[in-house]
């Protein structure tokens, strides 16, 4: 008898049910772009963590006798400064590597603020409904009526220029997207049976909102958060470029670009590389966001 059972078990064994992570990874790894995005992102994160070790020079060190040295492969370049130096003789490669830290930090902090605040507001709006919902959503409409950079500029005008205030400004700019997503998801989920049964079982509104409903609306929020990273980095660089974000001598990519603007004709490399760094980082997060969207939500698949 027991032999028969084990024989059946042996027959069944090859059909393995995939865990959710495996299933997700299989869907995600289907897209080469998504893998490229993930690879780039991991590389950037490593770059940010080990900036102090990788960077050949300190980011603020001014080598006065080497101002505006061209990149190593151009005439007049040296191996000491692979991507050349800026107008005061700082190593561009080292500044870019340290800039990775800032850019990822800007993305992380502004998305974290925006996501948590947005989820709370969206859940409340979708769950409570009535005038609370109307007030929150109208406020979001106002914020969406302003072009993103204009809203960020307005916030910076109030708070004053600077890296930290730029992060707040970007968090505010990103906010409406999370609120709308969270609200829509809650409204779609609230009527479903598992929510009803949890309610009947005596779950309070906080438990219903955060522990019953929220986990089931995470997919679009994760996708939006990833894409939010790229717009945060792009907007922070734009603010830095306009002189409203990070202030010199901070090695933030946008302000590095703005700093060197007058030397663009004589030394194009001071402008080329910081921009390239912004492009690659933003591209990495966009690729990853697209891949996550396709993997997490087949309905959204293009």
């Amino acid at each position: 008898m027991s032999e028969a059972v084990s024989a059946v078990a042996d027959d069944v064994a090859p059909v393995r049910i995939e865990g959710p992570w495996r299933e997700f990874w299989r869907a995600y790894a289907q897209s080469r772009g998504a893998l490229l995005g993930l690879g780039l992102t991991v590389a950037l994160i490593l770059c940010a963590i080990f900036a102090g070790v990788i960077a050949p020079h300190p980011p603020y060190e001014q080598y006065r006798e080497f101002t505006l040295t061209p990149p190593a492969w151009q005439a007049g370049g040296t191996k000491d400064f692979i991507l050349g130096t800026d107008p005061v003789g700082r190593d561009i490669l080292s500044r870019l590597i340290h800039g990775t830290r800032l850019s990822l930090l800007i993305g992380l902090i502004s998305v974290a603020i925006s996501l948590s605040l947005g989820v709370v507001l969206g859940l409340v709006a979708g769950y409570v409904r009535g005038w609370v919902e109307t007030t929150i959503m109208r406020l979001m409409d106002v914020m969406l009526a302003l072009p993103s950079l204009l809203l960020a500029i307005a916030v910076v005008a109030i708070l004053g220029p600077g890296l930290i205030n730029a992060m707040y400004a970007i968090a505010i700019v990103l906010l409406p997207h999370y609120v709308r997503l969270a609200r829509a998801a809650v409204i779609a989920e609230a009527g479903k049976e598992y929510v009803q049964s949890s309610k009947i079982a005596g779950a309070g509104p906080l438990r219903l909102m955060f522990s019953t409903i929220l986990p089931n609306c995470l997919a679009p929020l994760i996708v939006q958060a990833t894409l939010g990273f790229s717009s945060a980095i792009l907007d922070a660089a734009a603010l830095g470029f306009l002189g409203l974000g990070a202030q010199p001598p901070t090695p933030e990519w946008g302000s590095m670009l703005a700093d060197a603007l007058e030397f663009i004709q004589r030394a194009p490399w001071v402008v080329t590389f910081p921009g390239l760094a912004i492009l690659v980082t933003v591209l990495a997060f966009n690729l990853m966001g697209d891949g996550l969207r396709d993997a997490l939500d087949p309905k959204l698949k293009r």
Partner: protein, 335 residues
């Protein structure tokens, strides 16, 4: 239909009120003394401050101030610029045609290239052409446009010397500002050399500003087209034996364009964000450049008025897009 229009139009009133509240609050939220901010004078004597406080109405309760502000806005009085001492609204209206001209050509370029590229990618799905279009458009979508603009200047203006670096027209041409649109004004006086100069000034900023909308349109057209090509009516049209181009251009494209048109309409906000950067780099005399100067020189009436006006424009354009969408798609109208 009229009921639909009125219902949609009524929805923007709370949004507009919100925007005026934001613009009004700006003057009070900005660090420093509102009187100094509004007059642009620092360290004035108390008597003068008292007089200005009264003149600006800042000594009244906030709700009264807001009511007065709304009254002024509705009369078209947005205050006076601190740097030029011109009315803010007049300055905006003088500069706005330059921004429209730039945005229009950027959009023209984005549609003229983005639409066919998206169609091509959808028809040649999973081929090299598709990957190329999608790769380029994702890069365009991720582009920091202030940097892109600089690269364009470096290559086309500095290296090749084909286009001018900045401005709207070469200084030697004296074009009377009849409409404010440089191309129309030069056409009006039949000055072909001036028209050429204006066009050569327009091309690089249009490319820089049009890149992101182009990428968005190409991506959107591709996905919308792919969806439509799977529909039954496309199969029916093919089964009827219609030529392939006819099925694609008449049956598929017309339906695929509906979401694309909405996306094009909704790019206005994006265009104005981009215009701030593009105009700054090319010294284009438009409202984006003006607003950034306002922020940098702490010209708060300009900042306040500029934000209010730009938001109003975005709200109105979105409303028009909404209405057009309802006209095209009856399912929305009757929802």
């Amino acid at each position: 239909m009229l009921a639909f229009i009125l219902r949609r139009a009524a929805l923007i009133i709370p949004t507009f009120i919100g925007v005026t509240l934001l613009a009004f609050a700006l003057i009070h939220l900005i660090p420093g003394d509102p009187v100094e901010n509004l007059s642009g004078e620092r360290g004035m004597d108390p008597a003068r401050r008292e007089r200005l406080l009264h003149q600006f109405g800042l000594d009244r309760p906030l709700p009264v101030q807001y009511g007065e502000y709304i009254g002024q806005v509705l009369k078209g009085d947005l205050g006076t610029s601190l740097t030029t001492h011109e009315p803010v609204l007049d300055e905006f209206l003088t500069l706005f045609p330059a921004t429209i001209e730039l945005a229009f050509f950027a959009m023209l370029l984005a549609v003229a290239i983005g639409l066919p590229a998206g169609i091509l990618a959808a028809l040649k799905r999973n081929t090299v052409a598709d990957y190329a279009v999608m790769g380029v458009s994702l890069t365009g979508y991720s582009m920091p446009i202030f940097w892109w603009a600089l690269l364009l200047i470096l290559f086309f203006s500095v290296q090749l010397g084909w286009t001018p670096v900045s401005g709207r027209i070469a200084v030697e041409y004296d074009v009377p500002a009849a409409t404010g649109f440089m191309l129309i004004d030069t056409l009006k006086i039949h000055d072909w050399a001036a028209l050429r100069s204006a066009l050569s000034h327009l091309i690089l900023p249009s490319i820089a500003l049009g890149t992101i909308p182009l990428a968005v349109i190409a991506r959107m057209t591709r996905s919308s087209m792919l969806e439509v090509l799977r529909e039954d009516y496309v199969r029916t049209a093919r089964a009827k034996g219609l030529p392939r181009w006819r099925v694609i251009l008449v049956h598929a494209l017309r339906n695929a364009l509906i979401p694309v048109i909405t996306v094009i309409g909704l790019q206005v906000g994006l265009l104005l964000s981009g215009a701030i950067l593009t105009e700054t780099i090319f010294s284009w005399p438009g409202v984006g450049n003006w607003l950034i100067h306002g922020v940098q020189s702490r010209d708060y009436p300009v900042v306040q008025g500029g934000i209010l006006l730009i938001a109003t424009i975005v709200i109105s354009v979105n409303l028009v897009v909404d209405l057009l969408y309802g006209v095209v798609n009856p399912r929305i109208r009757h929802a």
